[in-house]
């Protein structure tokens, strides 16, 4: 299973396109996960027992929906959401279309990460803020988010890396991306060169993201 350097040059434009597609998928789904998953995670936390917005019905409903989405295997979600994808993007093919399913999977994933990160905050700090007479919004903005900042960044790192793994399956619905390239050329056509190149690209990408995440989390933590 040698590497044919000529093959890399030959397919380089295709690799570039795939890389670009991966970035689009991850960019969109991460953006959606942050915008929707973060508030959802906060809501999951503050509506829980003994917290300042305690609301059992809301908490149970959100928790239930989150669990349902998280229990569906991604490959099934991908196919099941084709009608929704068609509705939102007007197409079912390409990285933007694949981003719909990726986003739907990423929202509950990230919401649970946010909830866990918030749970790690010392309850006393929240209590002190309540005792001071802070509004719920102030507690979220000035206590919960800053105190969980480092673990939230670690959580974003984890989400991005999971999305990279998920995005490899996007090829099934013609989403494209690096992972899709690896499957199409490396797996179906026994093209070892492309297989190795794509895997190396993914390894480097994951490493870079993990290191950037660790660095940022550490840099921002004032403890």
């Amino acid at each position: 299973m040698g590497i044919e350097w000529g093959r890399i040059i030959e397919l380089w434009p295709e690799i570039q396109v795939a890389f670009y597609q991966t970035l689009i998928m991850i960019g969109i789904s991460l953006g959606v996960a942050l915008v929707i998953g973060l508030p959802l995670g906060i809501l999951l936390f503050i509506t829980d027992r003994g917290l300042f917005w305690e609301n059992r019905p809301v908490n149970s409903v959100i928790g239930f929906v989150v669990n349902i989405v998280r229990s569906i295997p991604f490959i099934i979600l991908l196919v099941a959401l084709i009608p929704l994808t068609q509705l939102i993007t007007g197409t079912t093919i390409g990285p933007v279309a694949a981003s719909v399913s990726l986003s739907v999977a990423a929202i509950p994933f990230f919401a649970r990460i946010v909830e866990t990160a918030l749970r790690d905050i010392d309850k006393g700090v929240i209590e002190a803020a309540i005792a001071v007479g802070a509004t719920p919004w102030m507690i979220i903005k000035d206590v919960l988010l800053p105190e969980a900042k480092a673990s939230l960044i670690q959580g974003i790192t984890l989400t991005v890396i999971s999305l990279i793994a998920y995005s490899a399956m996007a090829g099934v619905v013609g989403g494209g991306g690096i992972g899709d390239l690896a499957i199409r050329f490396g797996y179906y056509r026994y093209d070892n060169t492309i297989m190795i190149v794509t895997v190396v690209i993914l390894i480097v990408l994951v490493q870079l993201i993990q290191q950037a995440g660790d660095f940022t989390a550490k840099k921002l933590d004032k403890r």
Partner: protein
């Protein structure tokens, strides 16, 4: 300032209901420092947390400044809390915000205009002696300094009441003393009412005007700190007092004594009046000091002596009677042969 009426707080646990606070009625007057003492699990923490409704009482009334807090919810309760400061054993500062940001958080909660926040933060830092730590993160501060930030935050909105939940229990003795002095100082300068809970009797002895002792969720004894030190009624209170003012004479010494052993207690000004020497001159009794000291509680002297009285039985009891006439409290620990 604070009226607690028939307050109870029960908790549901796996093993059934537990009474955290059991029918407590207390009044804390404006400007005083009130101490609540008890071992852990006595319910003092639940009680203080009921005062600003961090815990909602199961039944009973909590009035602060005449307002019944148990009737308030949501925003009304939040506004009432602006006027009740609280500090904690573990400080509970926002670790990701600087000292100044932690204090301005409280000011913003009260809707302070932003142009007033900076100067007010400086003023508060000056008051707690941390002006040079303005832009430092809590992790870089010592325990005592963190508590000072906690105090500055609690006082930010000029509260009428300051609640201290074991505020010095995580600090070493010297730091404890400096924080207690700061609290006393604040109490005098701002005429702020302070309620503190502690398991350390020396804290109460140091700064409190009045106190209550709690056991099993109930207040078993309350009154002026001086009076309780002078004349504790319950075994638990005596135990607490003996932790700071101990007059135990070693057994071997007591065995060697054949006279009557008495514990004599002088309150207030009489402590220095030479009553003992008057007695020894007036009666044919020999006195032998075994233990003694004059404690100052709230700047009032409290003299406690353990002595052996030797002489005829009638003379000894007359001498004791004489001491009692001179307003000493005499407790006969062992009768002579």
């Amino acid at each position: 300032m604070i009226q607690i009426e028939q307050l109870s707080k029960t908790y549901q646990t796996k093993h059934g209901t537990v009474k955290g606070v059991d029918d407590v009625t207390l009044e804390v007057k404006t400007g005083e420092i009130f101490g609540i003492v008890g071992y852990s699990g006595a319910g003092k923490s639940s009680l203080i947390r009921c005062i600003n409704l961090l815990e909602r009482p199961t039944s009973g009334i909590v009035k602060v400044g005449g307002q019944d807090l148990t009737k308030l919810r949501g925003d009304g309760l939040r506004k009432a809390r602006l006027k009740i400061g609280m500090i904690f054993q573990h400080f509970y500062l926002i670790s990701q915000k600087t000292v100044a940001e932690n204090i301005s958080f409280a000011l913003r909660a009260a809707g302070t205009p932003s142009k007033n926040i900076g100067p007010r933060v400086d003023e508060l830092l000056e008051m707690v002696g941390l002006s040079d730590k303005r832009n430092v993160y809590p992790a870089q501060l010592s325990g005592g300094q963190k508590q000072r930030v906690g105090i500055a935050r609690a006082l930010a909105n000029e509260p009428a009441v300051l609640l201290c939940d074991e505020a010095t229990s995580a600090l070493d003795p010297n730091t404890t003393l400096s924080i207690l002095r700061l609290l006393k100082d604040i109490n005098r300068k701002l005429n702020i009412t302070i309620v503190l809970i502690t398991h350390e009797m020396n804290v109460v002895k140091e700064i409190c005007d009045r106190m209550a002792v709690m056991q099993g969720g109930r207040v078993i004894e309350d009154g002026r700190v001086y009076d309780i030190f002078a004349d504790p009624k319950t075994a638990l209170t005596k135990e607490f007092i003996s932790s700071v003012v101990s007059f135990n004479v070693p057994e071997e010494i007591l065995e060697k004594c054949d006279g009557t052993i008495v514990k004599v207690l002088f309150k207030g000004e009489v402590a220095g009046d030479g009553i003992i020497s008057d007695m020894l001159q007036s009666y044919p009794v020999k006195g032998n000091f075994l233990h003694g000291a004059i404690e100052y509680i709230q700047e009032l002297p409290l003299g406690i002596f353990v002595m052996e009285l030797k002489g005829g039985q009638a003379d000894v009891s007359q001498a004791i009677h004489y001491l009692e006439q001179r307003e000493a409290i005499v407790e006969v620990m062992e009768h002579g042969n």
